[in-house]
Amino acid sequence: MKITFDWLKEHLNTNLKEEKLLEQLTNVGLEVESVANLSEGLDLFKVARIIKTEKHPNADRLKVCDVDVGEKELKKVVCGASNARKGLITIYAPPGAVIPKSKAKLVVAKIRDVTSYGMLCSESELNLSDESDGISELSSVKYKKSIGKSYFSKSKSNLIDLSITPNRPDCLGVRGIARDLAASGIGKLKDFKEKKNKSNLKQSIKVKINKEKIQGCNAFGSCIIKNVKNAESPKWLKDKLISIGEKPISAIVDITNYVMFDINRPLHAYDADKIEKGIVVRNSKSGEDFTALDKKNYKLEDNMCVITDNKGVLGIGGIIGGTRSGTEFDTKNVFLEAAYFDPTSIRSTAKKLNIDTDAKFRNERGIDPLSIEEGLNKAASLIKEICGGEISKIDIQKIETYKNKIIKFDTNLFERISGFKISTKEMIKILEDLGFNCKKEKKYLRLSVPSWRPDILQDIDIVEELVRISGYDKINIVDPIKERTKSTLTQPQKLFHFLQRAIASKGYMEAITWSFTDSNYNDHFKGLNKEIKIINPISSELGVLRNSIFSNLIMYISKNLDRGFKDLSIFEIGPVFSGSNPGDQTTVVCGLSAGKKSRLSWIEKERNVDVFDVKKDVVQTLVEAGYSSDKFFIDNETPNYYHPGKSGRLFLNRGKDQIAANFGEIHPNILKSLDIKSESLVGFEIFLDNLKLPKKTLNDQKPKFIISDFQKSERDFAFVVKKDVKAQDLINVISNVDKDLISNIQVFDVYEGENIPENQKSIAISVTIQSSKKTLNDNDLESINNLIIETVENKTGAKIRS
């Protein structure tokens, strides 16, 4: 909502300076978004006379004009307008001036080799009207003595742009804003003397509102102004509209706009002679169509509130008028409409037709239903004043009579909510200033809500009015008590934060990427999930919810590789989606690592990152989080975006109930198809929601501290096994031989090749044997030794290597 200080003062008696006033606007909840001086720089635009024109030497359509701008020397200006001629008084913009329409700053420029000092302006370029055909032609009678003077009268009033919240339609009019300010005690709302038109002339166009199941229009007021002469608006009216950034069009349109901005009463003016046999306000039927003032043809659906005549639809009520019945400069008789439309109906119609107009914006927020007469009177009087003519009686058709809402307000509620006190007397003063009718009844105030406040529905809304007008600075600060009765984070939340930092501490940069992604990337990683489309995505590259974090991470790692980084590790912890219902999501920690370890190191051997690097990161992280690696079980049934031979699935135990993590090399086909340029790319996913929470927290007592001081002994074994025998199985078999005696098992070599039969491999294992009860003697050791060999050979088909 744009207003000026000057316009505001037409409704408000105040001594306050503009600066204080701006502060007060924000204090009562009418936030000042910006303040701009519109007339700044406009004084540069001068009234000027063309003394001579010549054809441009290098361009047929251009003229070189000598222009008198009231200075000693004439200015040479190149101009393309066909109406540029000797003697014409027009408007000149010098170099340095900013053209209001294009916001372009003029400079001295050579136009086809002729230097032009400034420009002669059209009305459209100055936002004075839509006239763009030729330069402005000023009346020689009026302006002959003004050559060299500023064209625009100096306005000191700034353009104030307010952000009006959607609950306050009343403040979409200057008067509503003035009323709020007055209530806050910084001035007095001026009395508004409504000019009643005394007329004997009958409103001759019959209006009927149909009763509908879904009622779009509840009241329709109208009057006719006969024998008008529509014209350009007088300067005061033009200036007024220009001062708030609006463009004048014609007196009749400008007047309806003026009334709308002044008291938020939208009006619509029809050419009465174009209305065929009376008006019917009804709901549309599917299949009807009409051409609106925006020159578009709209196909209507059922139950849209329309204004019609015998020939069809004239306009969509409260949203947009039609071309057929619009006023023009030659309009003789004006039919003026002021109606009350149901905000919900307005909104649903505008949404379906995708129309956004100023009238729609206002009507969907709720117009004062009792302002019909006031609006018609005000506009009709102005039309008569400016365009002449005769005003008819006002006709108002109604479906129901408006009744003011009544609220019984318990005055105690105010302090209960706001935490501070004001007297009942003060409450009444504020509410009356806002237009409420107050009656004191014992403990209550019986309040009649003003018709322009559709937002006030219950007692809490009254509290809001009272706090707002009293000032939020009156609210006392109550310092919070430092007391905690419940733990801040739940165990899963703690785990989330732990994993996040555990992964970061292994050299991964944390990234946060969109929850949506490109379906081309997502396709590679969606596994068995179905694609979840967004109906209205920002762009097709962000068209689906991610089924995996990999799609985004791999895209961004690729971008970073393109930036010239070679060795990168990034991760994200966040949601992935499996369906489009609330809750169809799980939390995943997903990481990618590209390139080499120890690249260009003088001391370490460089190598590609590999599956055992990510395996380490995953296992270490889980162990740090409190899971026991002794129980982990790993297989290789990974999703298809991993390298089938170099990837694994990790379970927290042999039960294999839920996958704790996947890790491995990304499938080479994906790297190829996405054109990822890296020596190696490995990744992992840890599924947070699948991690059973450790039963014991750090809070719980740690288990009993048991150690053995008896001598331990290390024995090495080398087993030759079939290639497909897994180290995990071998270790498992050995550890089960004697859980009391075998305290540690370590694989220290894996070998294939010479001396080992084909399709077999040798695995060398070191086993630590220690008793908690005694020092083991040679016999004891020998027997456990033999037992290990025997068991492994029996259970895995291995042969001990001699």
Binding site: N27, G29, E31, T165, P166, T344, S348, R416, I417, S418, F420, I460, D461, V463, E464, Y472, I475, N476, V478, D479, P480, K482, R484, K486, T488, L489, T490, Q493, H497, A504, S505, G507, M509, E510, I512, T513, W514, S515, F516, I534, I535, N536, L542, L545, N552, L553, Y556, K559, N560, R563, D567, L568, I570, F577, S580, G583, Q585, S598, W602, I603
Partner: protein, 355 residues
């Protein structure tokens, strides 16, 4: 006796020669070996007359100790000389680079969320979460924003189905609804998380982060709201004083509603929070609307309280001097490295939020 004395003197002279380790060991066995000079003297003790025996034994022990010490010292001397010679040869260029290491970082948004949680933890809030995909009811209707309410225009919503029932939550407020539906008052929670609006330009991203706050109890009023936010802002920006302005605003789910601005100024091209005469909007808040309480089966005549919503990314930008919101989500390695935090820097109350 003179024998002993002779041995002693003779060997002291011998040992003081410039001997190598082998030579010393040879002398050692000459003296203390099985038939060594000293060892054999011990065998003689029994043959000495009872009168002299005591003295002889004492002298012999003394000489033995003396020579032994001398030998040990000589050996140590030579060994330590040897080690020193060896160390002299083992010197490395210690300015060569260490073995390589990589450093991970925590994203500034995550760090900020931890800071926020830490601050609210101190005054008794616990953390709640809700899903990113919401239904229309939880995101709008239950929050007193019925269909065809103009306030819905303020939220450009991403939808997942044609009937517009499923959507990406446009704010964290639906967590209020979920929390209150599943439990009984009082409530004192914050809910940080991802939020989405189909809006994308320099200052808007289609995804951003919010933290919701909700405190419902029997007598929570606007003074508590002001106190809570005042405390939070001071703690978050780690300043003693902060200029803060509550101004009336409108949200369908709170009444009365307020927006909160903090004072700032631009000094040497950098934003300084807390002072100055410029205002910056950082959050929206208000008293939970009775209609919302009714929707979640909480009796508004018994319970009342406040709610707030803060833009996390915005807070992070202000605190850490980050200019471009979109860069948060563009994953530029250089940016992550520059603005990220060491994972060991866990924000805590006792140590302070930041170093």
């Amino acid at each position: 006796m003179s024998d002993l004395k002779n041995i002693k003197e003779k060997f002291i002279i011998k040992l003081n020669d410039n001997l190598n380790l082998d030579e010393i060991n040879k002398i050692k066995s000459e003296l203390f070996g099985k038939n060594g000079l000293i060892s054999s003297q011990f065998k003689n003790i029994s043959s000495i007359s009872e009168i002299d025996r005591k003295k002889f034994a004492s002298d012999l022990n003394q000489i033995k100790d003396e020579l032994q010490n001398l030998i040990t010292n000589k050996i140590n001397e030579i060994e330590s000389k040897k080690i020193n010679e060896k160390l002299e040869k083992e010197k490395v260029d210690i300015t060569l680079p260490e073995r390589s290491f990589v450093r991970g970082k925590i994203h500034p948004v995550s760090q900020t969320i931890d800071e926020i949680s830490s601050i609210f933890s101190e005054i008794g809030f616990s953390v709640e979460e809700g899903p990113d995909v919401e239904n229309e009811y939880n995101n709008f209707t239950a929050l007193n924003t019925p269909d065809n309410h103009p306030a819905r225009d303020m939220h450009d919503t991403f939808y997942l189905d044609e009937t517009k029932n499923l959507l990406l939550r446009t704010h964290t407020s639906p967590v209020q609804i979920r929390t209150m539906l599943k439990d009984k008052p009082p409530f004192k929670i914050i809910a940080p998380g991802r939020t989405y609006r189909s809006d994308s330009d320099q200052t808007h991203a289609p995804m951003f982060h919010q933290v919701e706050g909700l405190h419902i109890d029997k007598d929570i009023n606007m003074g508590h709201l002001k106190g809570c936010l005042n405390y939070f802002i001071k703690e978050f920006f780690e300043v003693d004083k902060i200029k803060m302005r509550f101004r009336p605003s409108h949200f369908p789910f709170t009444e009365p509603s307020a927006e909160v601005d903090i004072g700032y100024e631009i000094k040497d091209g950098k934003i300084v929070i807390g002072e100055g005469d410029q205002w910056l909007e950082i959050l929206g808040c208000g008293m939970v609307h009775p209609n919302v309480l009714k929707n979640v089966k909480v009796d508004p005549s018994k319970y009342q309280g406040y709610a707030f919503g803060i833009g996390i990314d915005r807070l992070a930008m202000l605190k850490y001097g980050i200019n471009d919101l979109r860069a948060f989500f563009e994953c530029d390695y250089r940016w992550l490295n520059h603005f990220g935090f060491d994972p060991l820097d866990v924000p805590t109350n006792y140590r302070g939020l930041s170093r």
